[in-house]
Each structure stands twice: as structure tokens, then as C-alpha cells.
Assembly symmetry: C2
Homo-oligomer: 397 residues x 2
């Protein structure tokens, strides 16, 4: 049969990173391309304990259908936690549980974007989210990222020029892939620009708890008096990605439609996973675990940047210092063919993600690539970055 696909999926391509991850599963390859937590980052013992307990004390709760909005004890725990820790969530907001933050992007796009509506995002931005926005035939317009976040003058121009701009998607903390953190001043200006142009904001914050240097910057959602911010959070980087639990905070008036979309996708999120998160947050030392993760990753981030400074920067590649998160963005000189560089690296069994994967149009010129330091062992990280340096020396030097 000659399949007639819907218009919205005609141009869809698989998420480049997840495809690269498949090839990076070759055990001989040093993968700096993932975005996975470190294998020793999981609270395995606590999860085993909780799992045994909930299956003993409340097996029907674990195994029976739940409600689409999510497991109520977890919703209550998160509401209190977000309010106390980040001043997120007002009387007019609602919080629901989703099957990983990716689902926030899907249901927000589905609920608000007609085909041809414009979604404005950082350029570069997280390809998984961009692919989801594309799958509703939204038009993506990228705004360049500066060392303190999105270029606000460029954003204003984009909003002025695009009357169909309906949403601004941002990852304000330790952005994936650029590693950049948006300044408070820019967050405030972003909010004002969105308000003035009648735009919603999706504030995607999967890495917020993973700050290694400097001070926390308040969340945009924390001053959302207009009800224009959809806040997305996730347990993927702080408990486990395999359990697929995220959450969203959004104005009640907008949430009702989004819950219906969530219901239509998977009815509700896995009960076991939701209960694990709630028990872990309420009966274990969640803050202590976050400190442990920050320590673990600070050591890795330190190592990664030291190695880059020693082996890579002297050979002509630059990078942005990061304050947190899992990624570092490296820039090749403009006269070097980035795709060719990444391909040659792969031949030498080191895998990074070509930067064009993160652009609104992967055919745009790009001289950057992304490396991840959370997943590889220190040994692999060292060998991998040395190899990048060696190749840079041959090609650039």
C-alpha cells in the first residue's frame, strides 16, 4: 500500500540524538553524545525499598487504573515543594503529572498551536522538543543565544515580525545544548515581551536542580501574574529517566484542555513511577540526594572543562563555561566543516552530537557540536576529549 501520511508528519525525521545514541551503543565507542544521568546517580536502594513496600502495602493502588491528572499525593507534594522552594504555582494554577517532560511539550503544542502558528525558541534548542512542535506543523523561529541567554532584541524583532507567534519555548537554566543560563534581567524582559505580544511561554526546567557554580536565578513562572507561563519539570535527571515522570504547572483555565490531551495520549502516567517519586520526596532525603548529584556532576564538569582547556582550546575550539546541567557546547572555527569533523571523530570511535541537530532548520550553517559529561566514565571522558583535541590539531592546527 502507498501510505498517505498526514501533512503534519510528512517532513518529520527521527530525533537525531536518539538515532546517534543507537550507533553509540557500540561498546567500543566512547559516547559523549547522550544526555543520560550517570549510572551511579540513581538512588537504587531507596527505589528498591519503596517498590517492595508499595507492592506489599498498596498493590491495587500500584496496578489499577489511576486518574489522568496524576497520583494526588504526588501532586500535593510537588505543589508544596515548588511553592516553598521556587515560589511556583498560584491559586490560579494547576499541577498535573505527565509521562516525562517531553509530554508537556506535546500537549502544550497540541492545545495551543494551529498548523502554521509560530513557536519561537532559542537557537540552538533541545531537538526532542523541536521535533514535537514540528509534529503539529508549527513554524519554528530561532533566536540566537548569548552567554546570558536568548538575545532579547532579536526576540523582540521576531515577535514584531511574526503576528502568528503564539509561544516562546525556553530552557532558562543550563540550556540544552548551549549550556547557557538566562540572566534574571533577560527572564524579566522575556516575560514582558511575551505579555505585550499575547504569547504563552513554555519554561522547560529539567536541569534546574543541577547547578554547580553560582547562584540560582528565579524561575519565570514565579512572577507569572498574567497566567501565561507553562512550567515543565522532570524527575528524569534527579531520580530516573526510565520511570518517565514529569510535571507541569499551568493556569487552570488552560489546563482543562491539556488534561484531555494527556488523557487521549496515555490515560495516565504509570502508577508505580508516580508512587516512587512521591515516597522518595516525602520519606527519603531528596535534598541530600540532590546535593550528592551536584557533587557528582561538579566533579565531572570540572574534569570536562579542565580537559577542554588543556587539550582542545589550544587547538582552536572554543566553548562556553557552564554553571550547571549536563552539556557543553563547543565551537569550531568558521572555516572548518563541522559535520565532517564529527564524522571523523566517529571513525575514531568518539561520538558527539553535530550542532545543526539543534537548529530550527538543520540545513542552516553550524560550526558547533555538543558534548555530554554526565554519562561517560572519567576515563572515557578523558580519552574522548583528548581525541577531540588530537583531531582538532590535525584539522585546524
Amino acid at each position: 500500500m502507498d501510505y498517505q501520511f498526514s501533512d503534519r508528519v510528512l517532513a518529520l525525521k527521527p530525533n537525531a540524538i536518539r538515532e546517534i545514541l543507537k550507533s553509540a551503543s557500540d561498546p567500543e565507542v566512547i559516547s559523549l553524545s547522550a544526555g543520560n544521568p550517570a549510572p551511579d546517580a540513581f538512588p537504587v536502594e531507596a527505589i528498591s525499598e519503596i517498590s517492595a513496600r508499595i507492592l506489599r502495602d498498596n498493590p491495587i493502588g500500584v496496578l489499577q487504573y489511576g486518574v489522568s491528572e496524576g497520583y494526588n499525593p504526588l501532586r500535593d507534594t510537588l505543589k508544596t515543594y515548588l511553592k516553598e522552594k521556587h515560589n511556583i504555582g498560584s491559586e490560579d494554577d494547576e499541577l498535573i503529572i505527565v509521562s516525562g517532560a517531553q509530554q508537556v511539550m506535546d500537549i502544550a503544542a497540541k492545545t495551543f498551536l494551529n498548523e502554521g502558528d509560530v513557536l519561537v525558541c532559542e537557537a540552538p534548542s533541545f531537538v526532542g522538543s523541536l521535533n514535537t512542535f514540528r509534529s503539529y506543523n508549527a513554524e519554528l523561529v530561532g533566536v540566537p543565544v548569548q552567554p546570558d541567554g536568548m538575545d532579547m532584541d532579536a526576540l523582540e524583532k521576531v515577535l514584531d515580525e511574526n503576528p502568528r507567534a503564539k509561544m516562546i519555548y525556553t530552557i532558562p537554566n543550563f540550556q540544552n545544548p548551549s549550556g547557557v543560563t538566562m540572566s534574571l534581567e533577560k527572564r524579566k524582559r522575556l516575560y514582558e515581551l511575551a505579555k505585550a505580544h499575547g504569547c504563552m511561554i513554555i519554561e522547560d526546567n529539567p536541569y534546574g536542580d543541577l547547578r554547580y557554580y553560582g547562584e540560582d536565578v528565579p524561575s519565570i513562572k514565579s512572577w507569572d501574574t498574567e497566567g501565561i507561563v507553562i512550567y515543565s519539570g522532570s524527575f528524569s535527571k534527579v531520580i530516573s529517566p526510565g520511570i518517565r515522570v514529569g510535571f507541569m504547572v499551568a493556569p487552570k483555565a488552560a489546563m482543562a484542555k491539556m488534561i484531555i490531551c494527556k488523557q487521549g495520549q496515555d490515560v495516565h502516567t504509570t502508577m508505580w513511577s508516580q508512587m516512587i517519586c512521591n515516597e522518595y520526596m516525602t520519606k527519603y532525603d531528596f535534598e541530600g540526594h540532590l546535593s550528592f548529584l551536584r557533587k557528582l556532576y561538579t566533579q565531572k564538569a570540572d574534569l570536562c572543562m579542565q580537559l577542554l582547556d588543556e587539550y582542545v582550546v589550544p587547538n582552536g575550539i572554543t566553548y562556553n563555561k557552564i554553571q550547571g546541567g549536563l552539556f557543553i557546547w563547543c565551537d569550531l572555527p568558521e572555516d572548518v566543516d563541522m559535520l565532517d569533523f564529527c564524522k571523523k571523530l566517529t571513525e575514531r570511535k568518539v561520538c558527539v552530537v553535530p550542532g545543526n541537530a539543534f537548529l530550527t532548520d538543520s540545513d542552516l550553517p553550524c560550526h558547533s557540536f555538543r558534548i555530554n559529561f554526565s554519562t561517560p566514565t572519567d576515563k572515557d571522558l578523558t580519552e574522548g576529549i583528548k581525541e577531540i583535541g588530537k583531531l582538532a590539531k590535525e584539522i585546524i592546527g
Copy 2:
């Protein structure tokens, strides 16, 4: 803010059943409105054992990211199982794991239906699926259900009259809500009609293993030489719905796009849940568990139909005898106001689902309601049905 929703969600309403379930959570109410497995249907001990084992032997596998297509051992197990047991799956097919069968409906609709395309379904049909199709602005056209399945002459007429018909959605076994099983002859004719009209078929089979009387009828997918059938299966009724695991078998050429949609929704299905299913299918007596479930539900179906025959039928309500599944469809005389009947029942603390919830347009005339016999205790089932009989006597008799 005055939220501007996308066209596709403007008319969306919450799944009526899931809303009714919320009110039916009042412990004083006898709920015959759910579609939940019986609380004693879950293999709790085995799941606890497996959970402890996988978290001990393979914690990283449980907690780390997985691939969007699903946990490969489970995919292999299911491919072999479906081929051997039901002759489902050819060289040209692929099988992926989804987060409950609901997700099959979402990604199939997203992949194949443009706004305004026509999806043909049984009338009545499962409201959860219909809502998902609606969420892509598909036009739903219902075909009446006869005691041996969809009226094929009516289907042919609908297909002739609707050149934009692109999909036929059917639940051939123990259909939800009508309880009807489609005959082999009709399955064959359905396939030929779809083929002749260039339509895809979604064969939704969540209840197939729950046959209590009569002989299995082959799956439409088992003779799908043209690659036009998307087969949807689920563990919700045979292991647990709270774990959210389903699967789909579809032609490879169509699957690639659907995997991208799955990836965009939730990256992948909860690893723990997938491993539970695989371990249970391969290391425990899965067939024995299915036999146990059939025995459990046969007893409940028997009781339900006996009670209906004794207390309800003599008072003017008719129903379709069923061969399996979880539901029985009851018809009131045409001069009785069905919604009023259901409302009065609720006041008497018995909850059923008004039949119009299952129609392509809930404003169409409807004189039926759905009762479920799998979830209530025998005592509640008895009291609930007696109450239906009493009310019928007052109103009809």
C-alpha cells in the same frame, strides 16, 4: 489571559466515563460504570518478585533511558507470541511497545489523519478512542452494530459516500461498549471493503484473551497481506492497567513515522513496566493466569446475566448476551428517557454509563446504557442490578 486554543481542541470534552468514575469513587456508590480489572485479577505476588529481581540484577536497565521502540526482549517475546498464537505479524510488519493501547490510537490518528479526514467506527464505540480521534479534528462517522458486528452494508455505503474516509476503527472482540463480537465473515468483508476503498484499519483488541463462551475468531491482522491493518494490543486487562503497557503491530513502511510520534510524546514507555511484562510472559505461567482470569470473569459474567434475566429483563430492558470482555449493553424501550433513567439510578447510588457517551455525536438519540461486571464485588453487582430492575419496574412497568 484570554487563551486561544488550537482548533483541534476547541470542542474537546473530557472522557465522559473517566469523569463518571471520579464521582463513582464515593464509597457509598455501587459503580457499574468502570472498565477496571477486578481487584483480585492482578498477579501481585509475581510482580513483586519480578520487581525485586530486576531492581537487584539490572537496576540501570530499569532506571536509565530506553529506546522509543520499546524494550527489545519484550518486543521479541511479543512477536513470537503473537505469531504462534494468532498468526499476527509478517516480514513486512514491525512491533513497538506503547504506554497503553490508548497511545496507539493517538499516534495512528496523528500519523494518518488530516483535519477533516473521516474515521469510520462502530456506533457505539469506545469513547476514549473517539476522543483521541476527535483531538486531531477527524470527522467521525458511525456504523450501526448488529449482534455479529458492524453492519457491513451500512459500512459499504459510508465508504462509498465518504471519499475522505481514511481509517476504520474496530474492536472486533467483545466490543466496548456493545459487548458484540464480529463474525469471521464480517471481518473478511471489512478487510475487503477497506482494501477496495484505500482505507487503513485499526484493529483494537484489548479483550481478546477474555473469552468466556464459544470459539476464538481469527484476527483481521492475521490475513493482512496488503499491509493495511494496525493491530493494537494491551496488558491492561491481562496483567495491570496501572503499569501502562500496550503494543502495536503495523507495516514497517508506516511504523517509522509512528515511532517518531511516539518519541515526541513520551520518549519511551516506563522501563520497569516493560520488564515486568516480559518477565511475566517468559518466566511465569502467563497462559495459566489467562485461564484464571477467564474463570474469574466467566463467573462474574454468568452472575451478571442471570441477575439481568431475573430482575431486569422482566421489567422491559433488553441486553445482548456476550461471549467475553467486561461489558454488557442494556437497551431501554424507546419511549424511556435514558439520561433521566441513569440520573435516577445515580440518585439511588448505582452508577452506569449513559450510552450516548459512546456515540460519534453524544447528542444523537440513544436508549442504552453500559454496565461493567468485572470491577464490582458479587454483592455490589447483585444489589446494583436489583436496583436497576426496581427502577425499571417503576418507570417502564
